[in-house]
């Protein structure tokens, strides 16, 4: 089975983690959900803002 060929294993591991850490989180964290202020006329206020925890 070619997947068990050990030659590119380390390179694949390193490269995939590199891409996973460097490219994806900025794209994910760019989606944030800002609060838009509740208008005065509305009786109940809207839900609270949410963004990625610990950041």
């Amino acid at each position: 089975m070619p997947q068990l060929n050990p030659a590119p294993w380390f390179a694949i591991m390193v490269f995939s983690w590199l891409v996973f850490l460097a490219v994806l989180p900025p794209k994910v964290l760019a989606h944030y959900f800002p609060n838009d202020p509740t208008p005065q006329s509305v009786k109940k206020s809207k839900s609270e803002t949410w963004t990625w925890p610990w950041l």
């Binding site: 089975m1 070619p2 590119p8 294993w9 380390f10 591991m13 983690w17 794209k27 959900f33 610990w54």
Partner: protein, 227 residues
């Protein structure tokens, strides 16, 4: 050179350049990184909806300490589901069929959950090795069994994803070859085989999404145990 059915999973190279690098780098152009002033279009709305739904789905049952993993698990989900789905297009290479990649993600992330559990609440984490209500005589055996099942988790995580995707791609190749070969000889059978191929492709689309989801869900469960 005799082609075997597994040759589609060989890490492809062109003139010495490993093409898995392209397969890992290019899919992310499909995801925009909105700046502060961007207005949403349909694609961005859909992606934001997906991220919102997914994070709620995974983290609602999770205690607060685990919420730090939100960005990581969301990135992992995007990573896996994009690679899986794009691999179903003709002539594409699916990096997640490589055991190396799946183990590269399964082992460190599982180990991280275990280490977090052992450092923060070692008694509680070790307590998972003995289910409640075990008869006294069975305790030693059960601890051994639970330890084995604990250490099998990363292996299972990696191999599950690899095997599912590899088997799917293999089946698609087999049935497509069959349909292609049968077409000049028995066209009606070839048409039936093509219908089977179509249904199989639909199944593989579902499998691609489900396997990515299961990978991340299981990791979140392991985190929930330990956080």
């Amino acid at each position: 050179m005799i082609l075997s059915l597994f040759d589609q999973f060989m890490s492809p190279t062109l003139l010495g350049v490993p093409l898995i690098g392209l397969a890992l780098t290019l899919p992310w152009v499909l995801f925009f990184q909105p700046g502060a002033r961007w207005l949403n279009n349909r694609l961005m709305t859909l992606q934001a909806m997906f991220m919102n739904w997914f994070v709620k789905q995974i983290f609602q049952p999770m205690s607060l300490g685990g919420h730090k993993w939100a960005a990581l698990l969301m990135s992992l989900m995007l990573f896996l589901i994009t690679l899986n789905m794009l691999g179903l297009l003709p002539y594409t290479f699916t990096p997640t069929t490589q055991l190396s990649l799946n183990m590269a993600f399964a082992v460190p992330l599982w180990l991280a959950t275990v280490i977090i559990g052992m450092r923060n609440q070692p008694t509680h984490a070790l307590g998972h090795l003995l289910p409640e209500g075990t008869p006294t005589a069975l305790i030693p055996v059960l601890i051994v069994i639970e330890t084995i099942s604990l250490f099998i988790r990363p292996l299972a995580l990696g191999v599950r994803l690899t095997a599912n995707l590899t088997a799917g791609h293999l089946l698609i190749q087999l049935i497509a070859t069959a349909a292609f070969v049968l077409f000049p000889m028995m066209p009606s059978i070839a048409i039936l085989t093509s219908i089977l191929l179509f249904l199989l492709t639909l199944l593989e689309i579902a499998v691609a999404m489900i396997q990515a989801y299961v990978f991340v869900l299981l990791l979140s469960l392991y985190l929930q145990e330990n956080v």
